[in-house]
Symmetry: C2
Subunit: 320 residues, 2 copies
């Protein structure tokens, strides 16, 4: 996944769709799985059957995955995990490997590894997540990941990935005009004001700017329409929201705690997100057109989360 | 799977390849799984990850499967079972569903269904097989299935599917010449001789013929070269024999208890089989050419078990 649209090398922020089916995969569609690339660090989100094959088809190295996030313990979001872990071991992965998932995954995986864990070269560590409230569950130099409590038939959480605010840059003309030293520049970048030899004060606020706006991605898998979700995904750059049904099956959607295309789009609209991706379409529909039309009638900037497509959130250069 | 080459409608005997990779699936190749069609009854052989997607891609109805045969309990032959059973339930399958597999599968499946068995519409029944000796494990009107003990790192069995000998037909000219009654015909078909009113005896041997030669398919998954296998698959019409490596990695093949292409072809040659299919190629090889060349140098009538291809054993009409 090259950072094709990024002007800063290595600053990719993109999602690759590996699968977008709902409970039953179809001839052309694998169950849910996505890879988020943040600055060339890869995070797998959900792991439906066939994830490892799709990773290979998309040219994504299985050994480059940094962590896995599982939204809930239904098979169509999970059954690819067994083969993927097995392959990671055959490829010689070492050390601990974190998996963030509803608490029950630990027992499932412990039972599985009783039979298939012999000779594993690494240790999968399940970090149980609380699906009832939003919590910070992961953090590295580049991002934070918070859970998004969802409304489904079993404990279920989405994930909100937010790029951290980058360090401030100092305007070049300030550096030249005031002959700022390295020490002055560091001080200004850290938010502190600088007093020049002649007593003049250069404020950090005036002298600095954000090099780019931090980006965000929210993954909302398997959920009924939820106002709490709207509150949590306010202003994200890219929102993935499932829509298993269209309005013609709204009763079935509510009964099974799924969202219609119009509901997913309403979340996007009310949360003022920049772009909406939809997927997890029921196999009852023979094509995707109806989903897209219904969603776009509410929120025009909607796209279908097509398999093997990469959706990049482009870095927006701040004005110097 | 229409009976394209069969002159008797509904008399298909064919194998459809769903996956042919070895332990690690590749970009273009799913792990092992095949469907045997015997007279429009379908039997799944092994069930690597992605089997349900491949069934759909091949246009094979998941609900038409009659039984599953699993050769051994390595993930690449098994991890598609969880999703497949889940989908069969969503499609509303009823009653018992037989799975023939090494004994350990029962515990694996019991543990799995603790977590994912709620609301299952049918009951998978695991019939544990003894992998140390050949046994009749399945029989219906059309076929018998015997196990083929294999030599692998874990208990492992192949499967020998034999069409039953069809009922005899009576030559038309005997019927005309002797003005045979329905009763006489039935008697001759059953192998009994008929005494005509004038005292002449019409023997069943003279009056009847086999309408077609019973067909056979042997599936030999994951095994080191074995003379016992040669003895058991004598004269089969179609033999699938794994070949994970070529001669350049013969030591690795023996260490991991796999066969080279030449060894697979030697089994075919010494067993006097009609045709050999090879698959389960290691991902260390970038293409299949070497496997085919090596096998054909020993046994020319070898083909690669390509995904989504159907290999039919054509019914050979007996001469009247």
């Amino acid at each position: 996944m090259p950072a094709a649209n990024c002007f800063y090398y290595g600053m990719t922020f993109s999602i690759t769709i590996l699968g977008n089916a709902s409970a039953m995969p179809t001839k052309n569609r694998f169950p849910t799985s996505q890879v988020l690339n943040v600055h060339e660090r890869l995070f797998l989100i959900d792991c439906g059957e066939g994830t490892q094959m799709q990773l290979r088809r998309c040219g994504i190295s299985i050994l480059k995955l940094n962590a896995i996030f599982i939204s809930h313990l239904h098979g169509d979001h999970l059954f690819g995990l067994f083969g993927l872990l097995s392959t990671m071991s055959m490829l010689g992965r070492k050390g601990d490997f974190p998996i963030y998932a509803p608490i029950g995954l630990k027992n499932i995986l412990d039972d599985h590894l009783k039979y298939f864990g012999e000779g594993m070269t690494f240790t999968p560590i399940v970090h149980g997540i609380n699906t009832n409230k939003s919590e910070l569950i992961y953090e590295n130099r580049a991002i934070t990941v918070h859970t998004i409590p969802l409304r489904h038939r079993v404990p279920c959480a989405g994930f909100l990935f937010r790029e951290k605010t980058p360090q401030l840059n100092v305007h070049k003309h300030f550096i030249v005009k005031h002959a700022l030293s390295i020490c002055d520049i560091v001080q200004l970048k850290n938010g502190d004001d600088v007093t020049l030899p002649d007593g003049e004060i250069v404020t950090s606020e005036a002298a600095t700017y954000l090099p780019y706006a931090p980006r965000s991605y929210a993954f909302c898998s398997d959920t009924a329409f939820s106002k709490k979700v709207i509150a949590q995904v306010q202003n994200v750059d890219l929102l993935y929201h499932e829509t298993t049904y269209q309005n013609d099956r709204v009763a079935l959607a509510h009964e099974t705690m799924h969202a219609t295309a119009a509901e997913a789009a309403t979340v996007a609209k009310e949360a003022l997100v920049k772009k909406l991706l939809i997927g997890h379409f029921s196999s009852r529909y023979s094509n995707d057109h109806g989903f897209l039309a219904e969603a776009q009638s509410v929120f025009p900037n909607t796209a279908i989360a097509k398999e093997k497509e990469i959706f990049e959130v482009v870095l927006e250069k701040a004005v110097e």
